[in-house]
Amino acid sequence: MRLSPDEIIFWQYGFFKLNATIVFTWGLMLVLVVGSLLVTRRLSKGLERSRWQNLLEVIVTTIETQIEEVGLREPRKYLAFLGTLFLFVALSALCTVLPGFEPPTGSLSTTVALALCVLVAVPLFGIEGQGLGGYLKSYVQPTLIMLPFNIISEVSRTLALAVRLFGNMMSGAMIIGILLSITPFIFPIVMTVLGLLTGMVQAYIFFVLAAVYIAAATQIHQPKSEPSNPPGKPGKETPWTA
């Protein structure tokens, strides 16, 4: 039994290996990019629109509202990054119903890469949001003593993001593999359905956590006395923190 799709190697030439993780990642990227290119080639502004355009609009507006609910004021700015994370993880979880497909997120390399993207993106968005000095000041926020702990939390939450996604996707495949040898009928199907649900929830969590980290980094710390909310949009200022 194997732990990750890294161990299935399709082609090897010296140092270069083409394993199942890379192949399925490319496949997913191809499906996402070509699919959205085909759909967005003929966009209509009127009420008559194709069903694929409808689907994409539903997805994009849903992601936008979710980003806004987490506490980011301008969701359009973060839509590209966060939406890509969500769509990739969700599609790789959904495609597990296809026979022969190994989810690339079931490999620790993929999840670590995704988590590293979040680790890099959070300071970038933070510096863009409140300037270099303002972002660096957020590390010493309550007192100077908290500086090492803030840095540790930055690293440990990246590790937690990676291992959480990897563990969930890997355990789904593993449990189905073990159950196939014990009860080959029907019960693995139930576990597959449960795995689909877990995969979607994990995709959502990965996306929401990345959004929360970015929201915490871009938030400008203001004194409590002045009202920071614009009127008409109450209660969206502080994101619930994980």
Binding site: G167, N168, M170, S171, Q202, Y204, I205
Partner: protein
Amino acid sequence: MDSMTLIAVASIVTAGLTIAIGVIGPSLGEGRAVATALTSLAQQPDASATITRTLFVGLAMIESTAIYSFVVSMILIFANPFWNHAIAQVAGK
């Protein structure tokens, strides 16, 4: 018992203990979280969307600690680093 058997016994027993003990805390926590969410759903049915969303995210975060122990036990069984080291030692002899 030679060293290979010792490593095998220690790995298997530790893998079982890891998942058994590691699951106790998250399961208690998940039970508490669901119970509290149900109570607040009964008190405020209007806020059901927010409560359900937060509940799902919270459940997955609680669950991730159990997943960590699962990953450790799977590594102990299927990708044991000490096992490979011992095999390399034996082969080198």
